[in-house]
Amino acid sequence: MKKMRGIGLVVLSAVAFLAVAPPVMAQGDLSVGRKMLNEDNPGDLWVDIGKELFYQKRGPKKVSLEQCDFGMGPGNLPGAAARMPRYFADTDRVEDMESRLITCMTKLQGFDSNELMKKAISSPRSKGSDIEALALYVTSRSNGMKINVTLSHQKEYDAYKAGEYIFYRRNGQTDFGCVQCHGEPDKRIRLQDLLHMTVKAGAQEVASTWPAYRGAHYVVRTMQWRLNDCVWQMRLPDLKYGTDYSIALTTFLNHRGNDAVMQVPGFKR
């Protein structure tokens, strides 16, 4: 230990370091911070909020969501999210977590679906939306279980193939499809890592980490938000909530992400 003459010395050495630092070196330098953020994820705070919302009697019909069937029978949550999106006979449609929640909140609780969708994606720095918290809670009940999105109903096959088609479909001012950013390993937009989704490991990360806490927004986000933001960056118009487009893309990615172990909330920059 030696006495320091002042801050100037430290600043000088920092400048010297900058001058010799290699230009770009993302992965290694970022991993320390990512590990620290992942270990203690504020998104965990929303699991309990979602749980409370799930069991509360809510909506015009004043009932809880305990009778909501996520594919494993009414109220049977463990493992249900790991198998979604999937076909639901009551709506004769393939649904993902967000669209299924809207179905149940509309049919069972009597909420207005347009109102729900309007509020589904919360403002950054807010307390988050009900659907964000509920989606996290229900998905967290599959934590530790393997993703197992099976294709058996014809509509599931259709969703998968349509999702694949959309993944590669180039459009808009940027000429982008999803694959332009997510088709190669170790790519970044500026410093932000892009998952390599055309290989299993990348698809597995998608399938097992949403809903996630979005650090820059301080709220929990669902996959639907991720897709909205992607198409915004692609310069496409406003993506509607819970459409077959999103469900198809999610079916495509989650099916390819099978066998990943669910661990939500994820932590995203």
């Binding site: 109903h153 590669y168 001012q173 000429d175 790519k187 970044r188 406003d238 509607k240 077959d244 999103s246």
Partner: protein
Amino acid sequence: MKTTWIKLSVTAVVGLMIAGCATYPDRATTKQMAEKMVFDAFSASPEHMKRLEQDRSQQICSKIGDEKLSQAEAAEIVKLARASIKYPASGKLVGDWKNGDRLAHNGAGDHIRNGKEESRKENGALCQNCHALAPGEINVGNVGPSLTGYGKQRGNSEAIAKYTYEKIYNAWVYFPCSNMPRLGATEHLTPEQIVDVVAFLIDPQSPINK
């Protein structure tokens, strides 16, 4: 005629399902379903909805999985790209590198939120999002190749200026279906903006060549 055919194929699929043999839809059916999904998924003015419509080049370039571009398709892309390129009225292809530097670091323009187009004086050139630029810059992407030392390696001849201008205007003229947006052809950038970016890339004084 066409719809009848699709109806028939859907019936066939339903038939299969009942027999317990649901399977992947064929190519034409997939396209039909997915295209409908695309146009049902967005709420926008007719003008903004047009962004979802693919032009001929985008259609060709939307290869699924490992599908490859054929020789004939590549030739068609190059031809379409060549035809798209417009040059600045001044005829000068090298502009102000300082403005080009600013544009290269600007990732904005053409976004749509809540039905409204981003209000900006001008669009950014988006370079920084995908390319390494001046030496030592950290906050740069790597989806495209590094542009550090671009002019140092290639020089700043008229031929290089023309190549660079065309590459930015419509990258597909040299690399059919590459990941790079056709920045001039889609009117994201004006010819006048592109010449400034050309200067940023090839001018020996530009920080990218230091």
